[in-house]
């Protein structure tokens, strides 16, 4: 059968985006792997997990391997419904090295996901992930890391955030072609958002972690345990590859949905 090339909406050369102007936006004020042609990361968020201290207080889980180990850590767990992060966590749990994750081995990841399917719930929004934990539906909950602090507060410390092997996601700005503010103004705005003061304010307001390395050292004491790039956590984290997700995300999500439903 003749195969025609498939046009991918997910991949970039669709012509809708301006290239980031790295004369105005600084390449040094973000992580090098996240200064892409059509998008630049201005914050980091990520996937981490919380665990129930009453269930596992004596010997707490500390890695994705523990998260996927239903024998050692019995109880329900929750994962993100749209595959992102859950696939990486599964591969790390299955013994794939941090720097050898991409391209993701889908078969291996899905096999791992399926192995805990009976003990898993899946969430589609941050609020759902949060409420599954706070309502005591799960003992281990994958969450967006910036919710960790609220969850610890809401449960009076019963649930605790684990940042080891947290999966760092680039929160990026992209610039649509022909946008009302114009190309220049948007590039200048992005440059402003890269400044250390702006980065720290975002951290304070939303728990979004700075992606500008100059800001890493200035993350305040009380935010250190929750911030991806704080001195406390930065050595343990794993970086997402947005290029792989751009090219394969659609198929990955559908394969994941097939595996869990």
């Amino acid at each position: 059968m003749r195969r025609r090339p498939v046009r991918r909406r997910g991949a970039w050369p669709s012509g809708h985006l301006e290239a980031i102007d790295y004369d105005i936006v600084s390449k040094d004020r973000t992580l090098p792997q996240y200064a892409l042609e059509h998008g630049v990361s201005i914050i980091l968020y990520g996937y981490a997990f919380v665990y129930d201290t009453e269930a596992y207080g004596d010997n707490p889980p500390n890695s994705w391997a523990d998260f996927f180990d239903t024998a050692k850590f019995p109880g329900k767990r929750s994962l993100y419904k749209w595959a992102n992060g859950a696939l990486e966590g599964a591969l790390l749990a299955d013994g794939v090295a941090k720097d050898a994750l991409y391209p993701l081995d889908m078969d291996r990841a899905l096999a791992k996901i399926k192995s805990i399917k009976d003990d898993s719930l899946y969430w589609g929004s941050g609020a759902e992930a949060h409420s599954m934990v706070v309502n005591g539906e799960v003992s281990l909950g994958m969450v967006w890391q910036n919710r960790g602090r609220n969850i610890e507060n809401d449960t009076d410390g019963r649930y605790k955030l684990v940042m080891n092997e947290a999966l760092a996601m680039p929160g990026a700005y992209i610039v649509p072609k022909g946008n009302p503010a114009g190309r220049e103004a948007v590039m200048k705005f992005i440059a402003t958002a890269q400044e250390v003061s702006a980065q720290l304010t975002l951290l304070d307001c939303l728990g979004m972690t700075p992606s500008n390395p100059e800001a890493f050292a200035q993350i305040p004491e009380d935010q250190q345990p929750y911030a991806i790039t704080s001195a406390m956590n930065i050595d343990g984290i794993v970086y997402n590859d947005p290029t792989w997700w751009g090219e394969n995300g659609g198929d990955a999500v559908n394969a994941f949905l097939e595996a869990i439903s």
Partner: protein, 282 residues
Amino acid sequence: MNAVARHIHPGWAIIAPLLALVVALYLGPILNIMWLSVTDPEPGLGNYRKLYESDSLLRIVWTTLRICVVTTIFSVSLGYCIAYAMVHCHQRQKNYMLTLLLVSFWISILVRTFSWLMLLGTKGLVNTTLETLGLISAPIAFMRNELGVLIGMVHYMIPYAVLPLLVSMQSLDSRVMDASRNLGASGSQTFWRIYLPLTLPGIVASTLLVFILSLGFYVTPAVLGGGKVLMVAEYISVQLLVTLKWGTAAMLAALMLAGVLAMLWIMSRFMKLSAVFGGSTR
């Protein structure tokens, strides 16, 4: 001008703008979706072929049909009992029942869905009570699975099932039943041979209504299914918003539309649809 007026009733001039609006705003988008289903990502029937080639798509369609059938059976059966009770009790009680029915009919689907989580969730009222009483040792998994979806959907659909049945039962001539008893039929004979057949148009109307509405259910399976119960509506939304496979989404939407129309057509072979829908609006 006169020749035209003779053939076209001038009344059409009054409804012409409305008709044009309906065609433009209703038919236009539908045709657009049909068009998308055969042109994206490439022209041809590739999206429809996926139905045969992909097990996962078939499984989603199958899950949807299974849940809709079960929901319809339970909603219409329970609805029939409720409608029967309402028709045959005193006016006062009937008003109370109607009020309760309409209140649950008007409450937002989100509220009703999340209420089930509070009642039947792991730490919900029912499980907590049973645990405190020592009747169960671990919470019963009512929610975040297919059972949860069915509970939520049946609960939501019952008012839709009751209303057409209620209208159909109210319009029955009660003297027919009296005549049946008078001629020596027992109560249950009268029900099975007279009452039930006479309310058949109502049953068909409420079955159709519940089944068609169930096909498009989105919120309840997404929340109460815990991510494991994937129905067509949620899958379409994922293909639109997450994976950007608009062709697949359009194909599934077209399929659902065709399914609903086919169902109406099959029904129309067996009975006059005007009687069904006339029965529900009279």
